[in-house]
């Protein structure tokens, strides 16, 4: 097979993703965090790679999500760690907004 089709999954209504804030949701057996920043939506795994806290309980400032447990930070656009103690990246997911819905590619 050489053809790749993206498997988009309906995650939420666009209007349910708060502006400059984060929500958590369970989908396809995964714990996902959705971030609303400047009209855009980003998605990452919801569990911090350091202390196993849920990032949806954290603090979003610009494109940085801060873990509520140890205040490590990640860039929500790509999951990269930006502040100690986190050193391992978060998995991030492609997002598209279509028909008023937020779609994620989890594969």
């Amino acid at each position: 097979m050489t053809t790749m089709t993206t498997n988009w999954i309906d995650a939420a209504a666009h209007g349910d993703v708060p502006q400059d804030d984060v929500i958590g949701l369970a989908m396809a057996g995964r714990d996902i965090a959705l971030y609303g920043v400047g009209g855009e939506v980003f998605a990452t795994d919801n569990i911090c790679t350091h202390g196993h806290a849920r990032l949806c309980d954290g603090f979003l400032e610009g494109h940085e999500i801060e873990c509520p447990l140890h205040q490590g930070k990640f860039d929500v656009r790509n999951g990269k760690p930006t502040c100690a103690p986190v050193t391992e990246p978060l998995r991030s997911y492609p997002v598209k907004i279509e028909g008023g819905r937020v779609w994620l590619a989890l594969d």
Partner: protein, 431 residues
């Protein structure tokens, strides 16, 4: 500050713009959280010289908070507390000397003398020697096993004793004592906490927080004895299942508590002997400035052992916390490289007990006005400590998100309306 790990190749080339001093060898004494972060930071700041990390423990740098909780209960393996995965630690290319002690600092020759008989020269020396659990030299202390909790080995030795049908007496109602009590209780043991002061965590929190902690533990079935001095220990006949030693904790009022296991949680003794013997200024720990420098310009100190000026406290003090171990370790590394460092952290501390998360920002004092947000009986609340209209400190339980906003209020020294602060209907973000 960056959390990215340099590859070994990258470490050999200073990052662009990095201020790299001509120090060739930086020796870190103590491979705990502060020492581990110092080593990581030296590399991430572009230091390409030799890093020697000397630790008397057999383990690579790790965080200690899980040792009294998930590691003690068996829910997590000790490896889960590691600062770095083995491959990331290898990539730092440090000369790690586990199980080695430093016997002496020879300041004139700028070298440390090690327990294996060798001498290790340094250009800069960073002392991250931490502390050790305080023991009590009381009558009978050599007659019964007395557990403490500081190291992975301590947690492993105590863990089997925490189970149904066993009674554990915890001497000391401070943070370690309470966390051990909570873990022991969750493992099904019968637990008694004996505290000599009239309230729990008397040294670190105001009375209303002590009252909350007392109610929490009593609701979980822990027997808490306050104002109860311990005069000694004794060996008693017969264990719970016949074979084990049974112990007694002898109280000042003449009574005795029979139990299977005794845990001492009576504070930390800073490991400042090396520094004192080397003639460095010490006062209940190694004195450092906001650049993490000791009284010798080539020697720095960080973590539990360091006594640093803190503007939030209005005095110099040791901060025995996860936050300080990490951030002062990083600051000391940057200072050793000649960077401008001004380490004056807002103290931040937390404790987890029975799934309850308590956090403290700043240094609450009795002089502050207290504003309460949320009802402690509901299980989630924040207490704000104000001077005038400015929040100086905050303590809260199960309110991590509100506390994060509290931190911002404290750091910005922004005047607030106490009525809105107390109103759960007013989001913290709007204050």
């Amino acid at each position: 500050m960056t959390a990215e790990r340099p590859e070994v190749e990258a470490a050999a080339l200073p990052h662009e713009g990095a201020n790299v001093q001509p120090a060739h060898t930086i020796v870190i004494v103590g491979a705990g959280q502060a020492g581990g972060w110092a080593a990581q930071t030296l590399r991430s700041e572009g230091f390409a010289g030799q890093i020697v990390l000397i630790g008397d423990e057999a383990h690579s740098p790790h965080e200690r908070p899980p040792l009294s909780k998930a590691v003690l209960s068996g829910a997590a393996a000790p490896e889960s507390a590691r600062l770095m995965k083995p491959e990331a630690f290898d990539a730092l290319a440090v000369q790690w000397r586990p199980g080695v002690q430093v016997h002496r600092i020879d300041r004139a020759a700028k070298q440390v003398l090690l327990s294996d008989g060798t001498a290790q020269p340094y250009d800069k020396l960073i002392l991250c020697t931490g502390g050790r659990a305080r023991r009590l030299a009381l009558q009978g202390a050599d007659q019964v096993p007395l557990h403490t909790l500081r190291t992975i080995e301590d947690a492993q030795a105590l863990a089997p004793a925490l189970r149904p049908g066993r009674c554990v007496v915890v001497v000391g109602g401070g943070w370690i004592g309470l966390e051990v009590a909570a873990t022991a209780r969750q493992q099904g043991a019968e637990v008694v906490v004996v505290e000599t002061q009239s309230r729990l965590c008397e040294r670190t929190v105001p009375a209303e927080v002590s009252a909350y902690l007392l109610a929490l533990h009593r609701a979980q079935g822990v027997r808490v004895l306050l104002g109860a001095g311990v005069r000694g220990f004794a060996r008693a006949a017969g264990g719970a299942d016949g074979a084990d030693i049974r112990s007694e904790v002898l109280l000042a009022d003449g009574s005795a508590l029979a139990c299977d296991t005794i845990v001492l949680g009576v504070g930390l003794v800073p490991n400042d002997e090396l520094a004192r013997e080397a003639g460095l200024a010490c006062e209940g720990g190694v004195l450092v400035d906001a650049q993490c420098r000791t009284s010798d310009p080539h020697i720095l100190a960080a973590g539990d052992v360091a006594v640093a000026p803190n503007p939030w406290a209005g005095r110099s003090l040791r901060l025995e916390s996860w936050q300080n171990a990490q951030e002062q370790g990083m600051a000391a590394a940057r200072s050793a490289l000649g960077q401008a460092v001004d380490y004056q952290p807002l103290p931040w501390f937390w404790s987890d007990q029975y799934g309850m998360n308590l956090q403290i920002y700043g240094m609450p004092t009795p002089a502050h006005r207290v504003v309460q947000r949320g009802d402690p009986a509901s299980g989630s609340f924040v207490l704000f400590y104000l001077a005038g209209d400015v929040v100086q400190a905050a303590v809260g339980a199960n309110a991590a998100r509100d506390l994060r906003f509290a931190r911002r209020l404290i750091e910005q020294r922004k005047p607030v309306d106490a009525e809105r602060l107390a109103d759960l209907g007013t989001p913290m973000a709007k204050l």
